[in-house]
């Protein structure tokens, strides 16, 4: 699965720590999500969408 997390975070000038705190996860998890090493659970995906104020499908897309 592909995602735009890194782009969205950069647009808001947020640090990894800020996003991790908003999502209630570790910075390692934010890093793993941004680098495509980990696809989030559905509850975490909803939380990400809420934090960025965007629908899930505009953040995540099907990929290789």
């Amino acid at each position: 699965m592909n995602n735009r997390l890194k782009v969205l975070r950069a647009e808001r000038n947020w640090s990894q720590a800020h996003l991790a705190e908003a999502l209630g996860v570790s910075r390692q998890t934010v890093n793993a999500l941004e680098t495509g090493r980990y696809d989030p659970s559905l509850p975490l995906a909803f939380k990400i969408a809420r934090v960025f104020g965007q629908p899930i499908e505009s953040i995540f897309s099907e990929g290789d």
Partner: protein, 215 residues
């Protein structure tokens, strides 16, 4: 939408892996030379040492050395952040969790090395068993503490390592069981099977951690 991949970090990662490989080779050669000298002195003559005992001590040493290295890295917040692929410096929570993981790893190494070592020095079975039971209880408590503290990525890694261990372990043990049934391999003991599974778990954990960006 394009995936943002850490292409720029690949050469640094490759250099890190190469460096670790070189350190491993040097330590391996040093260990072999020391072991050869000790064996030549006759220190192991007559001791009931099985292949599983050697594997257990080898795996246990890897765990203890890795735990010590991790603890040393955790002394520097900047170095720990680089190791964990984090921006800036590692925070107090990250340092605490890393040290807890190192403690669990070290305890795992000690627990797996103790049975053959205790058997070699001829300790009475009851106190040896009690000691290992206590260590296992402490290990389980620490593992549960860590599991409750971490987030879904770490828990996913634990589950994946467990599944991979089952797949690797059952494959190896199936082949051995077939060979044993056909009379071309000796029978395994419970200790042998446990050490094989632990080795498979170590390999699986390293693979999963690398895949998920945790190492």
């Amino acid at each position: 939408m394009a995936r943002v991949a850490p292409f720029s970090s690949r050469p640094r990662k490759a250099g890190k892996i190469l460096g670790l490989l070189l350190v491993g080779i040097c330590l391996g050669v040093a260990g072999y030379l020391v072991g050869e000298r000790v064996a030549a002195s006759g220190a192991f003559d007559g001791l009931p040492v099985r292949w599983a005992d050697l594997l257990a001590v080898f795996v246990g040493m890897i765990m203890v050395v890795a735990a010590v290295a991790t603890s040393l890295i955790s002394l520097s917040p900047a170095l720990l952040a680089r190791t964990l692929n984090l921006e800036g410096q590692a925070g107090p929570d990250e340092i605490r969790d890393t040290r807890l993981q190192a403690l669990i790893l070290a305890l795992s190494g000690v627990i797996v090395m103790l049975p053959p070592l205790l058997a070699m020095v001829d300790v009475a079975a009851a106190p040896a068993l009690a000691l290992l039971g206590l260590l296992l209880a402490a290990h389980t408590a620490l593992n549960l503490t860590l599991y409750r503290r971490v987030d879904e990525l770490f828990r996913r890694a634990v589950v994946e390592a467990g599944a991979l261990t089952f797949w690797l372990g059952q494959g190896v043990l199936f082949l051995w069981a077939v060979a044993e049934r056909l009379g071309v391999a000796p029978a395994l003991t419970g200790w042998d099977i446990y050490v094989v599974l632990l080795t498979a778990y170590l390999i699986a954990s390293v693979g999963v951690a690398a895949r998920r960006g945790l190492a």
